[in-house]
Symmetry: D4
Subunit: 248 residues, 8 copies
């Protein structure tokens, strides 16, 4: 409610165009549905542009089913991330057309079609083992209506693979780089493009990779500009942010 | 034993009002029952106000049963934390009315009623996944005779959920905030109230959350005043401290 | 604004008891004074019970003087923490009776007397080197109207010094323990009292103390209950929280 | 050089439209000027859209002067970051109209006017001490032709200050949040907007802030979506990335 | 393609000795086979001297089989590292003579004989538990045609075991030391030889070994010269590098 | 071989009292039995006073059996640490009277009686969960012929339990303290005795105990003198060192 | 006061052999002198065998002078550690014969002669840069009446230097090893002797030595038995502990 | 002394060709000169191929002068690393032709000419700020008689600079890469060559570079093979190792 809206609102209260009861509801308007264990954010689509996504990890199957049930009453697309197969089977009982992506560990329930964007997101991985995290980003971006171009396994150990795909990377509106180990891919890509690069460190590696810490630090210290970083293995976060930027 | 008590004690020894034997017992008074593998602190209730709580993790079922058996001879309420179902089943063999809270991983044996406090503790969580830790705090506070108001899943990603519950939070005598990931909830609550805030970082999260380290550091560095922090996932510690403060 | 107040407020708007303009002001009420580089929180005393404190580190002398000037127009006590002597000299130019505590690195401007509390805060340090942090806590607690009992240099290396002062510690309403190195003092005190213990790790130590990390971890893992922890060297935070608890 | 360009290039070589010598130059085209200690990237503007920025830290005054001298021969705007006053004085000897921003530690040499963008970047700080880092971001974004709206000192300890400025934040095309200590500002802002949020942790704080690590981890683990993170104190990186996004 | 080759190449294009189509192929020459999930680097042998090795961890059995199938069409030796028995069984279905080394967790497919080198690599371990990592190095070095001398379990706790084998160590062209715990073996060996020493820290140990961190730091800080370090448990990397040096 | 022995040895070679062959054997004397995967240190008892102990973790059952078989040919007591039950069953096949201590995870084969020492080692634990580590120390010290006095579960949360056992602790020749969580027990004991204190941090705890790191740092920073520290959970190391000191 | 003493004490009170006043004094016996900022432990010599040592770091010159003044009234040797020259000059004003060791940063005031022990402490350093820490250990051990044999600069990079001095090391009753960088010296010495080895990691080194952390971890993970560790640069702690052991 | 030498030696003792005294000297043969604070390793050139290098950091000027004086009596080239200008001035007093390299912080005393090697070492840096570390490597390699080719400031942010210099890098016998920040240069170079790559992380960077830790981890986790790593800023170590390899 900005200043003008506020003035109008109060005037309407004064002249009775809005009743006291409606006024009270209005003031409470940033509302949600309360399930006790969860408060579903009905206002989110209005406020930040997308429906709430269910982060499944750490929730019981019953809790997830409760949240989905409530969401199904509204005609929105639903995305569950970090979902196990068991969670998916629970959801299927209440929603037969839910889809599970085993690689990305996502559950998707489609209720309205979204036209793919004209511009696209380039999704680049260093190796084959980074694909699950990349796919979480891809599924996220796609359900929010973005076109995604996948360029997988083009890490710097064989840098010609990257150069051979440079055109498709450079023509993207925004680029996601997904890499584990030392994460050098991000800096190389960042030095070759003039678009925003979202870097996703992965926990791929062993020993002194410290479950993704090496890649994370590497990306944070990138000598290339135009790069920013999300949490280790956070494919969803990268896909979500890329979607926002792609639609600017 | 302060100075006056000490003087009286020695005078009583001198004039024979206290026998040597009794005197020796008296001096040994900070006593305990020795089970070999454990020394049960009988004096604790007197000294710090509550009966000893059994931290079950790392103890064998037989050890826990031994400790409980001894405690059952005294008419006190018993709380076991971090208890597995197997431990509970062992306890049940010697105490049929023991109760197990699977979410909170607590065993409770009630022997005397405690009247709920008039003031209450507000127990706030950032998300649904933080509830197990919160419930450990709730069970602890309740067995020690406190009223607890639960406000769950009001993290800052949808901050209106918090504001909508601000009244009940502000009216509490002491507030516990339970949050994982970046733990920002604590600072926001701390900036809105004039009561002590006990922050419990949880290990909810992944990647650079480093099993709760991110939330822990976040809470320790809170820019809001009136905040202090307990160990990661330490629901018991928060509930215990909140109980002390609530009863001041 | 709780529900009743909200209803009344809207009724008053409707019947004209509150004008639109006043209503707008009212809704904006959580207000502050904007200096550009700083936004002074005028509403804080109402909201969290105390006037804003100036954390001086990282601010220029001119910025601090600007903030103090504005605060001086209101009749409140002012506390500056982590202040250098140079900052103090700047403040003195605009406020001749400002007082500097070199040990605690605090600036205090007193405008109204506060009656010392009947109950008191026990302030315990492990060593002599911990005193500066303790004094920051003491100055903070005292300006907020609390009585403080100092028990310094009673660390566990000579534990009889602690026991000899146990009475004054146990009679406090809340206890602050300030210790560096391994911070064992906190656990020992925590096991001997039935009052809230606020632990302040200090950066006193060397080598594997890692500038207070050892003491911090030690306190977070205290085997004694009723203990919570603030940031390393955060004397202010401990004094502030102790003040809140002491006045409950 | 994409496939079509490559084909044309080779055809031109074949039919003599491009001479062997020119062909060789063309293939070498990603060229630079070699100063021995530095290789100035002449091709950068073409490749990533901006002239090279001089990161002054760790370079000698003579080295910086050499780089600037070479750049001055081309008609471009020049930005030096992390520059000391001594470096600035060195530059002034060869370029009288160079400007130094002491707060941001930047040197700016303006050679062509850039029209400010219609959309703008919102630049939000938690506290006053975060301003130097924010100003580095502001200077960077402005020299690249962006309009910047500064909203300083609106950290979550007094969250109404943030809400009061929410309109100007929400209307931005991209938002930069700059915060030290626990960095909770980022998550709160992220939950209230539907625009990309670039988070800059600062080294403001002490003790367990570990020179910005706490804020960094906090931001990486933000429960709000649409957030990405740059290195601690990396105002330049945030300003640069915001500029790219603002101009999409 | 160096300058002369480039000139010749362009001349050949010009005079038609190389057709446009061949020229395009030539420029694309740093090529690979694209399996979608993986891009097999056909050019690697030319570029860095060895065929690509399959790092199996994090790949599905189907992915590994796909990569091996493609490689089998070329007459090269194949090495799979960090392979489970399940992966091996998958490979066996398409290549009956594949060999699995359970200790080293390697799969080897031999297609051409390599004559063992005249000079040899000395492979030294601190303890028995370090042998699996050492064997990964040995298998790697051997498939690339190197002679390997194993000197196992000669850690510094019984340093005479090392001295008794010093001759065979000193006569090697390059030495690999494999050790966990405190990794002191590396420094002792480094001080006794005039050959390159490649140190492999292992995750053998417990507690403050932090999964190999102690050995890693120890080796990086070796007071002996001529020592360099690879990742924790990276037997392959050490074997590969030793092979390059042994063949210089 | 000290100077005198060396002189005698060479004289004996010269005058033929020792043959060349025997001399060569003599010079090789720091010998061991080579099993390929392990080099058994036959000289150890002479050199450091005790037979070699088998650290079982990371060894296969067959390797351990091979080592034990060789040791059985000599008439020595054998100690295996960090042994699983499966390892024990393997040993039992070749040595029926081997004994397994499930708590301490030790295998003991007794071949000669050792008279218990007159002085004793005090073995103190903070809690019940620390007992397994303590028992490893106890078994080690006992097989090397030391008397051990166990004082378990006397942590500082109920410090009177410690004081009540102070006499038996003070009369020991050397003291081992075993504690997890914050490990404050060590400092308290260290401040009360004038004997060497060997501190064993344990991985007992959770959250910010970081698997024993908190206790380790706490003990390393002990404000009490006379304290030194071994690795986390290193009961064997403490028992071994205590044995050396007890026998001085 | 053990049981018998307690009984006797109470009997003496009863029959008047000890007056009430004397009894009170007796019970208070673990006494100290209170300077406000410091509590001097008069009872320490009785309790742990040595007079209190002044850890000067973090204390003001005035505080140190106050402590020394009080100590001078008793006829004891005084040791100040981590003392600056300025502190020493302060002490000299009140005690002309105080001696300053610039290398060890110690102040020594000798009041009674101590006969050097017949057995001795071997003090071994890896390099020349470790000597300051070693000298702190030496000064400490010597003032407590121990003979110290210095063997400096015998690190493992030139291990023959160590072997050449092995005799004097082996004949010691207890050994202190002082080393920075990777600290391998400790493990090598530990494997060659049958005496207690006290390891002192030093902050000598750079980069990944992380101010002594590498040496600390290395020593904690020593594969040699009989080794324990004190804090980084803690020469005093090693000298003190070695003294206790040498006098057993 | 190998087996044959040993046999001959003992035969010579027996038949009197070597006297007892000479024999004793011979057995002591791994000798050094003892300065008390340092033991100069005379045998080092024989044993590991090079004269001892003086690591100046942490040594006093007098100590360094003492070491150099002794070395000057032998006709060897001398290298001092990490030397301050003050140290250099001290050396100059005893050796007028000593040379100081301010950038590399090295002191060089040349006594015999070394013919430059035919093969060369390629020395590559990511940026201008990495040059000091690179120069330490260059000075080291050159004094040991190696030809060094410097390729500075070719980091991956402008990767064409690297490709333009690929020929000179590929023709080297061994390559040193020196880089701070995220250190991605190493992986890119490693993927393009078939020679050993020695990676030197530098402390160039800020914030989450944690003084070189990010670059160190990045290099240890390099996805390119043939790479090994030395300590942060360890130019000497890289130059020394490269020299050994270059001369194989």
């Amino acid at each position: 409610m900005n200043s003008k809206e506020m003035e109008n609102f109060l005037k309407n209260i004064k002249n009775g165009d809005i009743s006291i009861e409606d006024g009270m509801d209005k003031l409470k308007d940033l509302s949600y549905s309360d399930l006790g264990f969860a408060k579903i954010d009905n206002h989110r689509e209005l406020r930040v542009g997308y429906p709430e996504v269910i982060y499944c990890e750490g929730k019981t199957v019953e809790q997830i089913k409760g949240i989905v049930s409530l969401m199904l009453t509204k005609d929105v697309n639903i995305l569950g991330t970090r979902a196990t197969k068991v969670m998916y089977e629970g959801i299927k009982e209440i929603c037969g057309d839910a889809q599970y992506n085993e690689l990305a560990r996502t559950i998707v329930i489609k209720r309205k079609e979204t036209e793919p964007s004209s511009t696209y997101i380039a999704l680049v991985t260093g190796g084959t083992s980074d694909i699950p995290v990349a796919e979480e980003a891809a599924v996220t971006a796609e359900i929010f209506g973005n076109r995604v171009e996948r360029i997988y396994d083009v890490g710097v150990a064989g840098i010609h693979r990257l150069f051979d795909n440079l055109d498709v990377i450079r023509r993207a509106k925004v680029i996601i780089t997904v890499a584990g180990m030392e994460g050098a891919l991000t800096s190389v890509v960042g030095g070759l493009v003039d678009k925003p690069v979202i870097a996703v460190p992965t926990s791929v590696g062993y020993g002194a990779s410290f479950k993704g810490l090496a890649a994370l630090l590497s990306m944070l210290n990138s000598c290339s500009s135009g790069v920013s970083v999300v949490n280790i293995d956070n494919g969803f976060g990268a896909g979500y942010l890329a979607s926002i930027i792609n639609k600017l």
